[in-house]
Symmetry: C2
Subunit: 317 residues, 2 copies
């Protein structure tokens, strides 16, 4: 390992924000040395509490995250925020969240905010996100909040990989609330009804209680429903209490080991997937071949399946 | 190839719904023969119009899709609907959408409805979805609607792989509309403001127009904004017109070839990723090894990076 990399790890573990930012960029880019860097980083794990927050767009997740971060700051803890942005796989997409946020929290040195977006269509967003969390943990951020916009598969996986998963709803979400709930029901350790000063909060709460009563968890935890008005800073302390309570339960019961194993398995598979792809597309020649095959598939001269066979060196799979 | 498989393909190309359902299950399960099946299926492409519909939960996408399907049915076309459900990667999750839907459309033999959900954490949802579309195309469904709940990365990729992408918004979506729009801006060929009988429709339309005016497309298409009230069947014909207009433009201009190439590239990479993973995890021994490594990572005796190195047979990557 190069001396520069050891120096970076030392600076990360001393909590230097610039070093943290650089380390995250390195793993995001997947540049050479990222693996060596992460193997070192994992040796510096400090056991931060990782809080995953997801929910429908428009539910006010960002406000809630900001207020929760402020509460932890008031308690003297350093807070890392990782915001996962769903964006186009074809161009990388734009990120507005960061800039808006920096206005409220950005001047506080005890808060580190980072947006993670997909880069091209080679994936790796979920892997980069969990690595960013590990870097923040090594840097001594005691509370790490992972926020995802959307309820897609990647986002769900990311949030589920947290120590505590918070699902944010909002009163009167309309007619596909059933479908959403079916998807997120088993993800949420804690449910928040934000914008609880709006009409329909009672109906949403009852509906949610009903759905929760139908679900069965294998850890005896009864997911609480917390009502908040994040913009007015109401109920945020109750959310923090619920998070702490869940953490305590998990620790005491020595439960959640199945969950930790499932998470670990998912992380290994994600990383494996990315490594395998990088090995096939490791040269200019193979990328050129991919591009030629994409041309042929686009013009229907070939189907995607035989294109993959050619990339893998012929023969059936 | 087995005779049974040829028979299945023949039945699919004759439009037999039971054969379509079986073919989709086969590619979803990724069982042996799925590759051979799909290579045959692609030879039966008929050039259906594939319409991707996405948008925030609660926007009323399902109602809109149902009404659009009914309109196409009235015009005598067979319609395939593929609903992509985001669900937990750890258990498969539940699907409620299907059962609700079958009540309205299920008795019509000219409509085929299928939900695609993630199965386990080995991915492949996006690949399975585009394959399901290809099967429906081979079976002669002239209009295929792919509906995704959520705005996650996978969902965005799936919708973008359609011939026409429709983004559904709803008046007054709240404070992270900016973030959502940044992500979906370049995806939408057509924007729908559904529930257009609600307050705030004018403000949402103006905001959307502003954002659209800032975006630049490379195909000179100016994405229209269509206002609908799906539950009252209002504006659905306007949406169908906009879809047809976009299709015509794309055909005439011979534009969109960059887009088709990007889609083809993405499909190949998805398939490649899945094949590579299947090759590594192809035996009971390798799956047992993965499980053992997951245990070690879960209990912090090992980091995920060195676990992957071990799975790949040692040595650095």
């Amino acid at each position: 390992m190069a001396a520069g990399s050891n120096n970076l790890i030392e600076r990360v573990s001393n909590g230097d924000p610039a070093a943290v930012a650089r380390a995250i960029s390195r793993i995001e880019d997947g540049t050479a040395g990222a693996t060596a860097l992460m193997k070192q980083i994992y040796q510096h794990s400090r056991g931060a509490l990782v809080i995953g927050i997801t929910g429908a767009p428009g539910a006010g997740k960002s406000s809630l995250v900001d207020k929760l971060a402020m509460l932890y700051r008031q308690r003297g803890e350093r807070v890392g925020i990782v915001a996962v942005d769903p964006s186009s796989p074809f161009s990388g997409g734009a990120i507005l969240g960061d800039r808006i946020r920096m206005q409220t929290l950005g001047l506080d040195e005890g808060v580190f905010i980072r947006s993670m977006a997909t880069r091209g269509n080679l994936g790796g967003l979920a892997r980069a996100t969990v690595d960013a969390v590990a870097i923040l943990d090594a840097a001594g951020y005691a509370k790490i909040i992972v926020e995802t916009v959307g309820v897609g598969q990647d986002e769900v996986e990311i949030v589920k990989a947290a120590d505590v998963s918070v699902v944010v709803l909002v009163p009167g979400m309309g007619d596909d609330i059933q479908a959403i709930k079916a998807g997120i029901m088993e993800i949420g350790d804690i449910f928040v009804i934000n914008k609880a000063d709006r009409d329909g909060v009672f109906a949403t709460e009852k509906e949610l209680e009903l759905l929760l009563s139908l679900a069965s968890r294998d850890d005896n935890w009864d997911p609480p429903i917390v009502k908040t008005v994040a913009t007015a800073n109401q109920g945020v302390d109750l959310l923090a209490d619920a998070i702490e309570r869940f953490r305590q339960t998990q620790r005491d019961a020595a439960l959640g080991s199945d969950r930790r194993r499932a998470i670990a398995r998912w992380r290994i598979v994600e990383l494996l997937r990315e490594n395998l792809l990088a090995r096939v597309l490791d040269s200019d020649a193979s990328v050129a071949m991919l591009n030629r095959l994409a041309d042929e598939v686009a013009t229907r001269r070939r189907d995607p399946y035989s294109a993959v066979e050619e990339l893998l060196g012929g023969g059936g799979s």
